[in-house]
Structures are given as structure tokens and as C-alpha cells.
Symmetry: D2
Amino acid sequence: MTSEPIRVFVTGGTFDKEYNELTGQLFFQDTHVPEMLRLGRCLLEVEVSTLTMIDSLDMTDGDRRAIAGHCRQASEARIVITHGTDTMVETAAHLGREIAGKTIVLTGAMVPYKFGSSDGLFNLGSALAFVQTLPPGVYIAMNGRWFAWDRVRKNREKGIFEAVPA
Amino acid sequence: MTSEPIRVFVTGGTFDKEYNELTGQLFFQDTHVPEMLRLGRCLLEVEVSTLTMIDSLDMTDGDRRAIAGHCRQASEARIVITHGTDTMVETAAHLGREIAGKTIVLTGAMVPYKFGSSDGLFNLGSALAFVQTLPPGVYIAMNGRWFAWDRVRKNREKGIFEAVPA
Amino acid sequence: MTSEPIRVFVTGGTFDKEYNELTGQLFFQDTHVPEMLRLGRCLLEVEVSTLTMIDSLDMTDGDRRAIAGHCRQASEARIVITHGTDTMVETAAHLGREIAGKTIVLTGAMVPYKFGSSDGLFNLGSALAFVQTLPPGVYIAMNGRWFAWDRVRKNREKGIFEAVPA
Amino acid sequence: MTSEPIRVFVTGGTFDKEYNELTGQLFFQDTHVPEMLRLGRCLLEVEVSTLTMIDSLDMTDGDRRAIAGHCRQASEARIVITHGTDTMVETAAHLGREIAGKTIVLTGAMVPYKFGSSDGLFNLGSALAFVQTLPPGVYIAMNGRWFAWDRVRKNREKGIFEAVPA
């Protein structure tokens, strides 16, 4: 059993999108990660910090540098990042080149948590497990699988993550 | 990324309980694990087999020997077992003493999957992650944490699993 | 459009049952009716009062007399009663013989509201509509239908309410 | 108890929107009305027909004439129409001026049925009750209330329907 503290950095993404009933649009309000941890009866030592609440298509290089800075400065050596799936691979690659000595797992969802059919809770459960057990490095956890940051791509036609041969 | 096949053995437990609207009682019908894997967009190579559909308070030593036999005979070296929480520790201990060379992770839920507030999807996600990354041994995955079979107890007052000092 | 105030009397029943994750039993805590009214964006002038929180199999003649008393004393002429389905017909009959000059609609659910597949929200929506539009009398609203109190029975094999010929 | 057959005409609207996990957009697939009727254990004699699957902002005068034609030709005298809320009042007004001798109730939802927090099931329950009990005329059923077609407006700031003085 691990007892190391885990940091969760929230950046937004489909995970946290809500339905605005006045406009009929999806939008960001607060993160659902604390509610999801309660639902999962999670008893890990987890600290949740919201860095941004944006669609990952809107994430800039500046945002990625800021995320890397937060990962570096965090006292925790085990970090989960919730992130939109569209550019998750880019952010993982940025972190993979910049950060050493920490286990960082990016995860997200194909369907908003607040939608009935979301994969978010499953993905959060798997990401929190991978972050406790994988060696230092930067990874993506989606579809029940884990990928090293430089061995993964998003297949946009299928809406899945898949391995890239070395 | 692991690409090893995983076997899921279903034994019943709160995880799979349903509400019988004619009698007002909870009961077992079919397992929800395949539906949960679809919801999680799980792309692992997973084979699901139902061994029993019982409340873990009704699990006998014979049932545990049968589960051990299935684990031994399975071609997979990575096995997840869904199990009621009340005697999950006993079954884990039986398997821990009987099985070597395989990674076996038991998990369950405090609330039925079909109930809105279930921890089942979170636990299944974490169990499937742990089974890919932990070394051979028998473990319990609950509350986001993992425990070696001989270092865990269920705290019935709190409804959680906790570590037992060595 | 009606603008008359409506009283909702909560008596318990499947509607309001919750899952106790420590014991694995269904039990009563607080009523979910206010939460359901919020979910339905209900803007009727509704006052909710909890009379009992019991399984309708445990409802006594004394309980029924108390409910009738509350209906008589209520300032509202339109009353919805949430009630377990097993003895809903008996309570409706008691009220039908005792109360005049008010529109009283009993409703309930076959599956607890907190269970994903509940009919509760549908039934509450229909009961609140019937109570606004039916003439004084005592009715049961289930399965999208309404029945006069002396023209209905519960079919326990099918788990539905059906008309009794005059 | 009414035993008259009811026709449900589906036109689309928020009610039936789904989340496209490949594009992250809301879109229309099939209607959820039959699934909702099953969830409500509805035993009314209901026939569901899909006329259009569109956002009500895209509804044209031609669409409204077509809906009126379907209402006129339907053998049923009691009709529920599911409709987007943005122009529900306009369609109701068109039908109110065109159709006589039938009870027609328009309803919809502020949040898609497939989203966890939808008012759809509540609204459908109330619409089906109102259509059985209101005299011939055209009505809107939202927020638990009913409005005659020429006495209602949508308050877009609040996302609710409200009465217009005569």
C-alpha cells in the first residue's frame, strides 16, 4: 500500500463540462473532481488544485509551461492531471521533456462527468491507481490503459487513444 | 503500456445487486461488469467470467477453493475478482496462501452499480490499473488504494478498508 | 393555468428508500421530494410536509387516520401524498370515505428515486398535474394513469395498478 | 380513469439532444421518449411518432404547418408534442389558431434527458397527465404548470415559462 500524497491538477476538458440550460451550450463552472473522489469513497491523500478550466483546444504553450511549473513546484512526487483529450498528447509531451523524477498521469473523459454515460469516473479511478504504481515518467491513462508520453496518439476518428510503435 | 490479457472473475457482491420492483428486495441478475467496461470505453484485452452471483456473507470455503482453482487454471497471469466487501479479506487471504506467480486484484463496491451513487465504476477502473502494474501477489483495491492480502482489514463501522500493520 | 397552492404529504414508501452502505439494507433517511421538485424546475406553489417515513406494509389504521386528519386540516384544497405502493389502495380508500371537497392524489414509485431506473420523477410530475386538474375526490396516479380510489387495485404479480370495473 | 389513446409527436429540442463524444457537440440521434415511457412504467395507450429532430430555433413556418397537419390528421383527440423550449410558444400559438376540438399539450426540457439533471421525465409525466384531463385546447406544460397557448411566454433570462395576463 502506498501512502504517498497525490496532487491532482485540474485543467478543464470534457471531464468538467456542464450544460447551461439558459443558452443550451456546454460550459465550465467548478471542477467535479472532489465530488468524484467522494463518490469513489477515495481515501488517498489527495490535494486538488484547479489550474485552468478550458477546452484543451484552447490550451496555449504558455498554459503548458505554467502546468510544467506547477508540477515542478508541487511538493508531491505523484501527480494526476485532468485534461481535455484533444491536446492531451501535446501536453504530455511537453511535460515528458520538461519534468524528471515525478510520476505524472494525464487523464480525461470522452463524455462530461455530468452526462449519464461518462467514462470520467472509470478514468479517474485508473489514473489514481497508475500514479501510485508506475515509475517516474509522464503517462496518459485512457480506455483502461496507460501509455508513455512518447508512445501514444489520439485516434480522432475512433475517439480512442492508441499506442505508437517505438 | 501493458498488452497482457486480463481475466475478470465475477462472484457477485454489492457491485452487481439490483432492485426487484415486485418484491422490494435487492437481488442478483446478470453482472454489470461488461456494461461498466463499455461505459469506461475500456480497450484492454479483458475476458469476463461469472463464477458465482452471491452475497459474500454466503461464500463458503468450497466457493473459495473453486475461485482459487479458476485462478490457477486461467491462462491469464493478471486477474481481477469482483467480490462482496464483507468477506473480501477472507477470500484474498485464501488466494494469497494458495496462488503464486499471478497478479490478482479483488475489488467490489459499497453501493450497487445500478444505484446512482455507486463507487463501483471508480473501483473497477482502479482495479484494472493495479492489475496491470503490481507485481505478482494477491491484493485488494478499494477506496482508491491497494493493499496486500495480509495487510488489510475491513472496518465495518466506517465501511472502509484500512491497512493492518505488519 | 391554476395558481392554487398544493400540499405534498410525504409518508415514505419505495420513493424515498435509500441504500445503507454499512448494512447493505434499504432504509429511510430524508425525503427526496424537494430535490425532485428542483430537478423538475417545478414552479408550482408547493409546501412539502413529512408525516411518516415508513414502508406502506407497516402503515396502521392509526397512521391512516392521522393522514386523513392532516388532509382535513390542511389549508390547501389540492393535496399530493407520496406513499408506498403495497397499501396505497387501502389508504386511498380510507381517505375516499373520510374526506370530501378536496382533490387528493396518491402516488409512489416501484423503484427508489435514488436508484437509476426509478419511475418516481415521472410519477411525481403526473401526480402534480392531476391534482391541478381533477375535480374533488381521492385518486391514485401511477403508470401515467389516474384512478378513482374505489376503481383501482394493485396487481402484485405485474407490479402495476389497474382499473377495477364498477 | 381515461382510456383514450394518446399520440406523442416528437419534434426534437433539448429533450432529445445527445453528446457526440467525437466532436464534443450536442446533436440529435433517436428520440428518448419510448425509453422514458418505459422508465415511467407508463401504461397509457401511447403511440410515438417522430416528425422532426431539430432545435426549435431552426423550426420554420413550414414545419409548424406540417405539425398542425399531423395533429389534424391524427385519429387521437389527445396529443402531446415534445418541442424545444425556445420557440415552443410560437408553435403553440400556431396550433392554437389552427386546431380545434383536440387537447394538445406541448412540453420539453431545459436540460437533455441524457444529462443527469434533466427535467425531461418530470415534464413528460406532467404533460401526459394534463393531456388526459384538460378540455380541448392547446397548452404548454412546463415547470409543473400548464398554460393556455395565448397566456404564456418564455422568460429567457430565468429559463422558465410564465403566465401572460389576459
